[in-house]
């Protein structure tokens, strides 16, 4: 039986990659952001995951509008990286775990999730940067990876309730895998930001703080938000919060918050981080 040890939900801003490449982690602009990840790495050292299931949104590297999936599950032996058009530093491919991928895909389709399956897949900064933040000296990281994509490029996006349900189904699928594996969930994106339009630069601290609090203890509350609500309150790219919601869904009902941090701005974005440990079993009082 696989065990879900917990989740890290984090922003994935492209500029992080350049800051790391240029060694800027301790500069005044960057330190408040990078410092938050030390606690995450300490926790990882005790959580000892074998696999990272990374729920992220492709930004037009792997998928184009000729065949854009709502949900896609990687099932490749490895996942490659490209420069995405901005000359981002590239890395060796990330190792996959296709046997687990297929178990997840079979379980999801059985539960009426209509996923696309990807036996070849390029992963972008939304996958790479969280891996590098969690294992900065290890590229590739010391875990097998399983990328799961949720569309945020083109509306309609899946509803918040659907994303939470999708995460729950992912969690059940992982826990029903036969091998002894310790699985980390990574949800990447957000928090509030908007890159496009006259409203570019929009950030909403109050909304983000509400979202972070609800993700921990009451993720179902966020399903009251429509995607349109999130665009209005969190910005066009703030919709990436649905990755956090899906990641949270993969955990049990109760989690322990190990760490949380929030910083404005990194690039155009309000950067958030949560480290959540899965309670092994329901608490007695629950």
């Amino acid at each position: 039986m696989a065990t879900i040890v917990g989740a890290v939900t984090t922003s994935h801003i492209p500029a992080i990659g350049n800051a790391m490449a240029n060694g800027l982690q301790h500069e005044p602009y960057w330190a408040p952001f990078f410092d938050g990840y030390e606690r995450a790495r300490e926790w990882l050292a005790t959580a000892r995951p074998d696999v990272a299931v990374v729920i992220y949104n492709d930004h037009g590297l792997n998928f184009f509008l000729d065949n854009l999936p709502t949900f896609a599950v990687g099932a490749a032996p490895e996942y490659s990286v490209e420069d995405e058009g901005w000359g981002l530093p590239t890395f060796p491919p990330y190792r996959g775990i296709p046997e687990l991928s297929w178990h997840v895909i079979e379980t999801l389709v059985e539960q009426d999730f209509d996923v696309a399956t990807c036996q070849e897949m390029r992963v972008d900064h939304a996958f790479v940067n969280p891996m590098r933040l969690l294992w900065p000296d290890r590229t590739p990281p010391p875990v097998a990876t399983l990328p799961i994509h949720i569309n945020t490029v083109q509306h309609p996006l899946p509803k918040t309730s659907r994303c939470l349900a999708f995460g729950r189904a992912i969690g059940q699928a992982l826990e029903s895998f036969d091998d002894e594996l310790r699985v980390l969930i990574v949800g990447t994106g957000g928090l509030s930001h908007q890159l496009d339009g006259q409203r570019a630069g929009f950030i909403n601290k109050e909304f983000d703080e509400m979202c972070m609090a609800k993700i921990i203890d009451d993720p179902g509350a966020l399903t009251a938000l429509s995607i349109h609500d999130i665009v209005k309150l969190g910005g066009t790219q703030g919709t990436e919060i649905i990755m956090w919601l899906a990641a949270r869904g993969a955990l049990g009902d109760r989690v322990d918050k190990i760490h949380g941090s929030y910083h404005i701005p990194v690039s155009n974005t309000a950067a958030g981080l949560l480290v959540l440990e899965n309670r092994a079993q329901p608490a007695l009082w629950y």
Binding site: A15, L65, G85, V153, L195, D196, R199, H228, A270
Partner: protein, 112 residues
């Protein structure tokens, strides 16, 4: 989707229909070879993707608001901006009519 948020275009089917060829061109900029081909002969490259005159003009002007108006999606447009080394702050400044420094200060201000 209802387009009622000021300064914001939600990229839905309506926008996607309008911008398909423009976005397809910008998607091609994932590859350095294609970025170089664009730089070597911008007219020929745009012609290959059969941009509309409006799209072609917005590309010529490197004008992000005009590109969005012409159906461009910011995720693909960012790859176009990348050709010229423009960051998301540069793009933000251009769209909001601020200087880049003012735009950055506006971002930082929201953290207080």
């Amino acid at each position: 989707m209802v387009q009622d948020i000021p300064g914001t275009t939600i990229f839905d089917g309506h926008e996607a229909m309008k911008g398909y060829r423009l976005n397809k061109m910008c998607y091609s900029f994932n590859s350095k070879e294609n970025r170089d081909a664009f730089l070597a002969d911008e007219d020929a490259y745009c012609a290959r993707f059969e941009l509309t005159d409006v799209q072609r003009d917005a590309i010529r002007r490197r004008n992000v608001l005009a590109l969005i108006e012409a159906g461009g999606n910011i995720y693909y447009l960012a790859k176009f901006a990348g050709i010229f080394g423009l960051s998301v702050q540069d793009i933000g400044a251009q769209q909001t009519g601020m200087s880049v420094d003012d735009f950055k200060a506006m971002l930082a201000e929201q953290g207080r």
